[in-house]
Amino acid sequence: MSRVNPMRPQQTTSSGLKRMVLQANVKPEEAHAPKPIRSPAKPKTRVLVIAHSDRGALDDHARQALAAAAILADAETTVTVLVLGELHENLSSAGADEVMVLPELDFQQFQPDVELASLLAVIKSMQPMRIFMPDNLIGDGDLGRRLIAHSQLTTATQVVEIDTKHVASYQAGCSVLAVCNLPEIVLLAANAVDTDLPFSAKATHVDAVELNHASGEYQDLGLQTSSAAEIALEEADFIVSAGNGVQNLSTLETLALQLDAAIGASRVVVDDGKLPRDKQIGATGKTVSATSYLAIGISGAVQHLQGIKDCRHVIAINRDSSAPIIKRADLSVIGDAEDIMQALIGEIAKAKGANA
């Protein structure tokens, strides 16, 4: 339970009574003391984390694998992360001591032969004592299994529990929890690790290895992206969601079309019959995992926040700056939903026009 800070801002009235000041300009939290650096000065061993990047950043699942490696590493172990695909962010807060980037091996390109050969070359030169990978669907689970099949190391896939001694994973159709000693290749399931680290790392860049040539067995014929309106809400990458603050749904539909986003809704809008039941996001509706979630006129009831807990970037447009969604959102814009939506539609059209 969070308690009221007895030291919060107050003023003394003329009669000598102390009055707490509501809505006072709360001091921005004092700059945190920088976290201690974990990176070892004289490393003896090394662990390797391998993950594909998505839009130039590591997603939550990949960061969990990195955090697991950093937490389990001892004082003389370097954590090296091999990022497949472009990287535009600093991984020092995520716990990476060394970063190697292979931008040509993006997950959208299907080239498992090149990836595996390059991976084996990196492993040969670095000699890691352990390898961590996220067991996801954007290529790491596939690549990890290919690596396992080509090596004689001990392995565990879909690991739901890990510590310094052992790993555990669900087996026999998720009916039993099986444990084994910490293996050399660990494919981590999502949410097995907390990414909050009490330390940071140096994240020095390491020169990439040269890529191997393709074997010619595989050929990529290109991606097929279907428009956001055709795919299920759970699979959508960009969702524009309507709440009670949206007066004019046609504006929202235009905005969603402009952004190529799927349309979701809070319970109130669905109960009013403005949108069908299958658009409802939240505890009674659907749980979504979009990369970007634009919540328009949604106050953010607990049930709704539960439905969007896996969304990476949440943007809120709301009239009330004290609504619960503001605490969840990465960016909150306070103002009238209709006006901001109209302005956004105009700006997007302008940006698209300038780009064309």
């Binding site: 969070s2 308690r3 800070n5 839009r55 950043a57 535009h88 959208q108 299907f110 669907l137 596939d142 299994r145 290919r146 396992i148 392995t155 565990a156 879909q158 739901v160 529990e161 087996q171 026999a172 159709g173 998720c174 099986a178 084994c180 000693n181 293996p183 097995a192 907390d194 680290l197 009490p198 330390f199 074997s215 067995e217 595989y218 050929q219 990529d220 014929l221 991606l223 097929q224 279907s226 795919i231 952004l259 970007s292 970037h313 943007i315 700056s321 969840r328 959102a329 990465d330 960016l331 909150s332 306070i334 006006d339 901001i340 956004l344 105009g346 700006e347 997007i348 940006a351 698209k352």
Partner: protein
Amino acid sequence: MSLQRIAVLVSDGKNPVSGEARHCRNDSLALQVGLNLVPDLTVLHAGNADNPALQDYLALGASHIDVVPTNGDMVESLAAQLQNVDLILTGTRAENGEDSGLLPYLLAAKLNLPLVAGALEITQSGNHLEILQFLPKGQRRRVRVKLPAVVVVHPLAAVELCHVHARQILGNITAHPATNSAVHHTPWRIDTPRKPIKLKAPLVQTGHERLMAAITSKNKGGTVVNDGNCVEKAQVILNFLREHRLINY
């Protein structure tokens, strides 16, 4: 080269509620995908020939099932049966045993064949296969792979399963003798049923820090934009989307 011999690997599933043996849906999809390519398939199962789950596969379209025992290395005994096969189809994950999803990968490495996972549709073109591959976030990818190959069928593959009792009566099952070799296994032991424990970094705090953490709430939430007119606010949103590479204009 045309698709002459297609092998489908099937495993025994079980009802998640009653525990009764039944077909594994993922493998049945692989079987149906194979039947859509050629009418006659080689169906392989590693395990026990008396397993009632195999009757389901007969009803679902396998005219004949070859059973190899698992007392040796499963990959070795399956690989011995899979020489000169043009295409090997499997499901994504079993419902019994380790269900690590590793078997097709080990088999492909053993037989030195290319492998494509997450297949939704398969079409043949000459001595290549064109495969529609599943990617998350509504994306699909078309890839081409050289035959012979191993293809792992995704659970969302759009095929219809058809259970015919007459096929179950007509079909037959052959058990093959064991080939023995070393067992390739990570030594797993079954633990008591419990909730997995999440790995957290140990946090060392002084008494004062713990007290402050208890009486002040952490400042959650991101940037809040209060000022400016609608157009400026819209610009802020667009800049945020651009900064995180969520839009490309």
